[in-house]
């Protein structure tokens, strides 16, 4: 059973594929876009843009630090550089360059990290970014977007290119369920309510949105009604929707494909304690590194299943 099947969703494209196609499609209408690649363009899917616009694409080799600082120089010259790599190498390897060459000078660089989270699977923990959202959110002025499916990724890519300022877009490797086949009203910083309920609110991003929908489906069969929010923007966080959810449902569960440290859970907890304090629970990969394996096995072992969310909801409601 694939993620999202229980709630009636169908498998669609990977978010990285939706991004790559959108970037290529927008290339002609956004002449300032340039791509800086660390020789992983066929993985991050910037390859399509590079083929269509070879003069505006620079493969600078396996050198993420250099790649990010070059993008800073391009942005300072008025270009809109899109820098894509595996999320772990982009954020973890080039963090200082993102800080000094992009965030601190407030340059309009679009950082795109693919293969995020543990869903990259067999390649193992060295390739799994489970710290990237925390790292990106720690940088003043950086917008952080974690889309849940192909349609919202198309919208997120457009919104990122329209937005003037440093932005991190987090993408995944596997094909994921289509959540927004009927369209997606995407706005940076505005969460999307996918389901309403009274007993608790599940706030999720990325691949965990579909998991949250499966959990909500299961909970409703047990007579528990939950609201589900797709919190696609981790920063700036949609404080209004969070406070409303806390006020109206009385409990919040945060689900994300990230470590327990500094990601969406931490950000929402900060917001909740500042606005409408309510009991909270968290579904994430914990404070550990995962291992090689298949996606289903990894999600089961590292606690990212619908069942894990169901249990978290039940535990928090009882408090």
């Amino acid at each position: 059973m694939f993620i999202g099947e229980a709630s009636g969703l169908k498998v669609g494209k990977a978010t990285r594929d939706a991004f790559g196609e959108t970037l290529k499609d927008l290339g002609a209408s956004y002449p300032d876009i340039v791509v800086v690649d660390g020789d992983v363009g066929n993985s991050t899917r910037t390859e399509a843009f590079a083929k269509a616009f070879p003069d505006r694409s620079f493969n600078v080799g396996i050198a993420e630090s250099n790649m990010v600082s070059i993008a800073g120089g391009l942005a300072a010259s008025g270009k809109t550089p899109v820098v894509a790599s595996f999320a772990c190498f982009l954020l973890c390897n080039a963090y200082d360059q993102i800080r000094m060459s992009v965030a601190f000078p407030e340059l309009n660089v679009k950082l795109v990290g693919s293969h995020a989270g543990i869903s990259i699977g067999a390649d193992g923990p060295s390739q799994m970014a489970i710290e990237d959202v925390a790292l990106a959110c720690s940088l003043p002025g950086v917008t952080v977007i974690v889309p849940a499916d192909a349609t919202s990724t198309i919208k997120a890519t457009q919104a990122m290119l329209e937005h003037d300022g440093p932005t991190y877009l987090r993408l995944g490797r596997p094909k994921v369920a289509d959540i927004y086949l009927d369209g997606c009203d995407f706005e940076i910083g505005k969460s999307i309510q996918l389901r309403d309920g009274d007993d608790a609110t599940i706030i999720a991003n990325g691949l965990l949105v579909a998991v949250a929908l499966d959990a909500a489906h299961e909970l409703s069969s047990r007579g528990i009604s939950v609201r589900v929010l797709d919190m696609h923007t981790a920063k700036p966080i949609d404080e209004e929707a969070i406070a409303k959810a806390a006020r109206e449902t009385g409990a919040i569960i945060v689900a994300e494909e990230h470590s327990a440290n500094g990601g969406l859970g931490s950000i929402i907890a900060t917001s909740v304690t500042r606005t409408v304090p309510v009991p909270m629970a968290y579904v994430n990969t914990g404070d550990c590194y995962a291992e090689s394996g298949d996606l289903d096995g990894l999600f089961e072992k590292y606690g990212l299943t619908a069942n894990a969310i169901v249990e978290a909801v039940r535990s928090v409601i009882q408090r």
Binding site: F58, V60, G61, S65, G73, A76, Q97, S101, P105
Partner: protein, 280 residues
């Protein structure tokens, strides 16, 4: 275009270099912190770039698209750039004395958000050449003739990213990019040769496909000649290894202080007074 006052003859450049040195001493001693010796070694290079006709810029229009770019990759030496910018007319000379003070755009390390004319925010070593590549690529895309000059410390050359940048600039044959290595021989805790020796530096850079010159970087004649040679090159990026003395111009004062490195500390008011006498 730069005005003719920015194209001084050699004697005028030497006079200007003295003026920049006096600014550096005054501003760092007033600030009570900073890196005067690291700034002093690079005075000839910065003077030649700003006032020798090598850089085209408009102080009243710092974002002029066709300007040439200067990136101070060894950001701690920015007092020499501030001094040049003040002399060029980017801001008032009196403002130099606000260096490192709360509210001043003349921060301890360059901040492009706060001071128009600063092209890159630096201070974490190793990034300036890569940023320069970004500028150089953008100039090429826009079919601009602009040149990009990046000043790098010799200690900074120990950062791996610099070598990633050397390789990349060669790949794109960025003849509009010039790296100047201020080889003053010292870094924070001692001589670069003792901390992490990169000799033979010229051969290393040359092997990356760069046109490379090694010169006496505290000789105005030598730096002018080297810059003239560099801008004639049209098929590859260019490097100038500028062999300098840390604290050049006030070496007797540093000798008397018993520290020829004198890294990351200002002269005391007394020592500054002696230094200014030397530079008068």
């Amino acid at each position: 275009m730069a005005s003719e006052s920015n194209r001084l003859p050699i004697e005028g450049l030497k006079e200007k270099a003295l003026t920049l040195r006096r600014h550096i001493i005054r501003m760092t001693t007033e600030a009570g912190s900073g890196h005067p010796s690291s700034s002093l070694s690079a005075v000839e290079v910065v003077t030649a770039l700003y006032f020798g006709g090598f850089m085209h810029y408009e102080p009243t229009r710092p974002d002029w698209p066709d300007r040439d770019r200067f990136i101070m990759s060894k950001g701690h030496a920015v007092p020499v750039q501030y001094a040049a910018m003040a002399e060029a007319g980017y801001f008032d000379v009196d403002q130099l004395l606000t260096l490192r003070k709360l509210g001043s755009p003349l921060e301890g390390h360059p901040n492009r958000k706060r001071l128009p004319g600063i092209e890159a925010s630096t201070g974490s070593l190793g990034q300036g050449l890569s940023i320069g590549i970004g500028y150089a690529l953008a100039c090429r895309l826009a079919r601009q003739e602009s040149r990009v000059f990046v000043l790098i410390g010799d200690g900074e050359m120990q950062e791996g990213q610099v070598w990633e940048a050397f390789a990349t600039a060669h790949k794109y044959k960025l003849a509009n990019l010039t790296a100047i290595i201020d080889q003053n021989g010292f870094q924070q805790t001692g001589a670069t040769a003792d901390v992490l020796d990169l000799t033979p530096l010229a051969e290393k850079i040359e092997s990356f496909g760069w046109h490379t010159q090694t010169i006496d970087g505290n000789s105005m004649e030598a730096i002018v000649e080297a810059l003239n040679a560099a801008i004639q090159i049209t098929n590859c990026p260019t490097a100038i290894i500028s062999q300098t003395h840390k604290g050049f111009g006030i070496l007797p004062v540093l000798e008397a202080e018993g520290d020829l490195n004198f890294h990351g500390k200002p002269l005391s008011p007394d020592a500054a007074k002696k230094a200014l006498e030397l530079l008068s």
